[in-house]
Symmetry: C2
C-alpha cells in the first residue's frame, strides 16, 4: 500500500479523535491548541514488537498500551491530555490481510484515545525490514505547577494509588499462552496487563498536594529508588503495608516479584503529614533523611531493602 493510502486509512480510523488541522495529514506540522492551564508538558515513549509485546494475538492491546503508557506519564505530572503525534515503522507483514495488523493496532490505540480524550495531531509512517516500532509523543496541560519526582521531604508519607503486581501476573499468563480465563483473579491480571488504565484524574487531583510523584512503570522496586534519588531522601517501607499493596491477583507471585514486575501504571507519590491521602491510595511507608532504603518487618526488624531479598530483581 502507498503511504498516502495508509495515511488515509489511519485518518478514517482516527476520524473521531482527530485534532483540527492535524499534521502529516495536511501541513508539515500541526498547530497546537492554546494552553489551558499554567504549563504544557511533553513526554515520549516507544513500543517495539518482540520487546513490549510478542506475537499477533495481542496487537490490539499493544495499540491501547502504546497510548496508555504515555498517558500515564502525563498523569505522573498532573497533566490533562492535549494531543499526540506518532511514528509507525511498518513491516510489510503488518499491511497484509483484510483486517491488517496495522488496523488492529490502530483500533486499540483509537479506543484508548477516545476513552481518555487524546486527539491525534500528526504522524509519519514508513516501511521497515525489522519489527513494528510505534513511537508516541504526548502533550498535556497542568493547572498549576507540574508534579515532579524531586519534592519528597523527610516525614512525608509514601503512597501508591492502587494495588500493584496484577500486570506482572497478567504478563506471566500471556507468556504461558493464557489469553482469557474464567477465574476472576486471572481475568483481573490479564486486564491489568493488556488494558492498563492511566491515573489521569488522580494525577490532576495531586497537583498542589503531593510533594513528589511519578508513575510506576518499571516496578515499584526500580521506580521508588528513582524518586528517592531525585528528591535526595531515603525511605522506610513497611513490609506489612507492602503486602497490603499487592493486588490479590498477584499474591501468589510473592512480594518481590509482584513489586518488580512493571507496567502497573499506578502513581507513586509522597504527601506531607498533614495531607489526607486520596481515596483508594495505599500507604507503603515514609520518607526519611539520608539515602538508605529500609524494609521494616512486622516485628519491627529493619534490613536494607536491596540486600534483604529484593536485590536480585532490581
Amino acid at each position: 500500500m502507498e503511504e498516502a493510502a495508509l495515511v488515509e486509512q489511519l485518518k478514517r480510523r482516527f476520524a473521531a479523535v482527530l485534532a483540527p488541522g492535524a499534521a502529516g495529514l495536511m501541513d508539515d506540522a500541526a498547530t497546537l491548541p492554546p494552553i489551558s492551564g499554567a504549563a504544557r508538558v511533553v513526554s515520549t515513549d516507544q513500543l517495539i514488537e518482540g520487546v513490549h509485546f510478542v506475537g499477533d494475538e495481542h496487537v490490539q492491546s499493544a495499540g491501547w498500551r502504546a497510548i496508555a503508557r504515555n498517558l500515564s506519564d502525563l498523569a505522573a505530572m498532573g497533566a490533562s491530555p492535549v494531543g499526540f503525534t506518532w511514528t509507525l515503522a511498518l513491516p510489510t507483514r503488518w499491511l497484509a490481510g483484510r483486517t491488517s495488523l496495522l488496523d488492529t493496532f490502530a483500533r486499540g490505540a483509537v479506543a484508548a484515545c477516545a476513552r481518555y480524550g487524546l486527539p491525534l495531531l500528526g504522524g509519519d509512517v514508513a516501511a521497515t525490514s525489522g519489527p513494528f516500532v510505534c513511537s508516541v509523543t504526548v502533550l498535556g496541560d497542568v493547572r498549576g505547577a507540574p508534579l515532579s519526582r524531586a519534592g519528597a521531604r523527610p516525614g512525608d508519607g509514601l503512597f501508591v494509588s492502587r494495588p500493584l503486581g496484577a500486570s506482572a501476573r497478567g504478563l506471566e499468563l500471556v507468556l504461558r499462552g493464557v489469553a482469557r480465563s474464567r477465574r476472576v483473579l486471572e481475568r483481573r491480571a490479564l486486564a491489568a496487563h493488556l488494558w492498563p488504565e492511566p491515573e489521569l484524574a488522580l494525577g490532576r487531583a495531586l497537583v498542589g498536594r503531593a510533594s513528589a510523584c511519578m508513575d510506576v512503570s518499571d516496578g515499584l522496586l526500580r521506580d521508588l529508588p528513582r524518586l528517592c534519588r531525585a528528591s535526595g531522601i531515603g525511605a522506610e517501607l513497611s513490609e506489612e503495608e507492602l503486602w497490603a499493596a499487592v493486588d490479590p491477583a498477584a499474591r501468589a507471585l510473592g512480594l518481590a516479584v509482584a513489586l518488580a514486575g512493571g507496567e502497573d501504571y499506578a502513581l507513586l507519590f509522597s504527601l506531607p503529614p498533614r495531607r489526607r491521602p486520596p481515596r483508594g491510595a495505599l500507604r507503603i511507608g515514609r520518607v526519611v533523611e539520608g539515602s538508605a532504603l529500609t524494609l521494616v518487618g512486622a516485628t519491627g526488624a529493619r534490613r536494607p531493602l536491596f540486600s534483604g531479598g529484593f536485590d536480585h530483581f532490581a
Copy 2:
C-alpha cells in the same frame, strides 16, 4: 549497557543542547518553555536503518539528517525551533565498540542541534532485535499565522528556495560507494545529501508573505501536487525555469530524475504577484485555476506534467 547508563551517556553528549528540566532524564515529562510568538507547532518524523540510510559509513550523517529533516518541517511552517524529543530503538550492535554507532549517531544529531539551536527535551531508549529506528518530534514557535500548504491562489508565482536535485545526485554517489570526492560538483552533491540544511531563516521570512509553503522532502514532482491539492488549484510550470532550478551538480541526471529525487529540503512556496521574491529564490511557474498541472516548453508547447515524461517517476 543498562538503560540508565545509556541515558547518562546521551545526556553528556547533549550537555550543550539540553533544555533545563529535560525529561526521560528527570521527570516523566518535560515542561515546555512559554510560547514566544503567536502559535506553537509540532511535527514528527522517523529515520530507519536500511531505509533512510544504509551501512555504517554514514551513521553520523544519519544523526544530522534525523534532526535536519524535522527542522525542515518547522521551516515549512515559518517556525523557529523550541526543542525536540526522540525515541531510539537500539540494536545490540549499535552499542558495541569504543566509539559505538549510537555515539556516532548522537554526534551527528548534536551537531545539527547546536547549529540550529534545538534543545533536547526528553526521550526514551529501548532495545530492538531489528534495525535502528530514531523517531524525532520537534516543537517550534511562529510569530504570526503558521504557513500552510492551502493558501495558493490563481495568479501567484511558484518558487523554490534554492536549486534542486543535488541530494538525489549525492544519494546516487553514496549508493555507488562514493563517500568523498575531489570534484567540486560531486562534493556539492554529497554535502547536499549527507548534511542537508533546513531553510529556517527563509521560512520565518515568508510568514505573512507567502500564500502557501511546504518543504520539498519527497522531490518536487511528488510535493508540488500536494500543495496544489491542498490549495485546490492547478499550476503551469516552465520547462526553462525548471531547468534553471536544477542544481549544477544534478544536471547530468536529467530534469525528471533531478526533480523526483527527494531530500532537497528546499522550500516550495507561492507568492502573490505584487510580492518580491526573497533573494536566491527561483521561479518555476505560476498558479492557475482548476487542478491541471501543465508543463510549458521553451517554444510555448503545453503538455500535462504527468503524461509528458514525468509520470513514471511520480
